[in-house]
């Protein structure tokens, strides 16, 4: 039996596809966000391989850095010995002093997640976490012992981390003892606007992330340092502060999501 061919005109084809595009555009963001996360979750292995390759390519290595194989093996063995020693010492330290027994961090849980991709231009990380419950949007994320951003979206096993340098990110932060809202610039920096000159904020001062409305951080943690202090356009008595992160986002291999007071 001859198959019946349906001829669709180009105009109709274009109209239908445009309609599909608009449906996608107007669909709820939590639904379409799941599609984006699902894609990353399915292809996390080739994506992370590509990321590792780029990371290696980005690392500058000169001939002076290269050591002979024998020397390398010797150093590697020494490194392994030191790591084992460090592990044993850590165990001893935790047993003796109780690392998590300080009041502020009591009961805090961390979900360790591997970085799949890091989008430098958009200020976003995509991470894969194995096990962990109690994750919600807005929770703080640690990288190299500093706050790097918050969870913007998540699905089973994959999450997006909005870095504090993203222009859409607003994070409570304190500098020089004053608490203000810090907003991302989009160029690997953030800004704190209209700070009183009387606070005498100077370049190199440490900036700490503070607790937000959802109470996701009980104790302040370092987020960056002051890179620039400029007189505000609004008033000569105010200054605009530029904050640079203390952690290199591009070189992060894993991060930790802070779960404050997890449900038992």
């Amino acid at each position: 039996m001859a198959r019946k061919h349906t001829k669709v005109s180009r105009r109709m084809l274009f109209t239908w596809l445009m309609l599909g595009g608009f449906i996608l555009l107007l669909a709820p963001q939590n639904l379409t966000g799941k599609l984006q996360l699902g894609f990353v979750h399915v292809f996390r292995w080739p994506l992370s391989i590509g990321g590792d390759f780029a990371l290696t390519a980005n690392t500058n290595q000169t001939l002076e850095d290269v050591v002979p194989r024998r020397e390398y093996d010797k150093l590697q063995n020494h490194c392994d010995n030191l790591e084992e020693l460090l592990r044993a010492q850590r165990e001893k330290f935790e047993r003796l002093y109780g690392l998590y027994n300080t009041y502020k961090w009591e009961g805090v849980n961390y979900i360790v997640a591997d970085v799949i991709t890091a989008n430098r231009a958009r200020g976003e990380l995509t991470v894969a976490y194995g096990k962990g419950t109690g994750m919600v949007k807005g929770q703080y994320v640690l990288g190299d012992n500093s706050i790097i951003g918050t969870i913007s979206d998540f699905s089973a096993g994959t999450a997006h981390v909005k870095l504090f340098t993203d222009p859409t990110c607003r994070m409570p932060a304190s500098v020089g003892g004053v608490e203000r809202l810090m907003q991302g610039n989009g160029d690997n920096s953030a800004k704190i606007l209209q700070l009183d000159k009387a606070h005498k904020v100077k370049i190199g001062d440490k900036v700490f992330a503070s607790n937000n409305q959802a109470k996701f951080l009980d104790a302040p943690m370092i987020v960056g340092t002051v890179a620039q202090v400029k007189t505000s356009r609004e008033s000569p008595l105010l200054v605009d502060v530029t904050v640079k992160p203390v952690c290199d986002f591009e070189k992060l291999e894993n991060v930790a999501i802070i779960i404050m007071n997890p449900r038992k």
């Binding site: 596809l17 555009l25 992370s48 590509g50 958009r122 993203d166 222009p167 859409t168 610039n185």
Partner: protein, 163 residues
Amino acid sequence: MRWFRFAVLILAATILQKGMLARFGFKPDLLLVLLVFFAVHCSTSDAIVSSFAIGLAADLIGSPIPMGPHTISFGVCGTVLAYLHRVVAIRKMPHQALAIFATALLAGTLTHLLAVLIRSEPLAPNVHTVLFWTSVCSSILGPLLFMPLAWCMNMKINRLRRR
């Protein structure tokens, strides 16, 4: 049009763009290069379908921009380019580079415009710089990729075809 090869090629480009190239500051947009390639070397109907499909792939990796703006902008730009190619042949490398540069600027602007106007997404202050350098990188690399792409898709690209 060999649609299976097309799907594999788009998937490979999407993974490469999101995985390896994402860590670089200024990078070419591989999906945009593919958009121009298929708009120039396929029949108009195939070009329309492939443009929207590539846009959908760009949306899947376009986070934090929500899904939709890439599909629409890539679809519109690819269709316009396919119709334009019926009048003006884009065969020489400088012309291809120019087409990629213009399409990248137009598609990028339209994407951000849709995201800002319809989804009320905030606009990054450095969006113009990123857009310009992405267009430049894509226009430099794009024409060089056309030959291997044609080989992958088993297409003849030296022939002048008007549809």
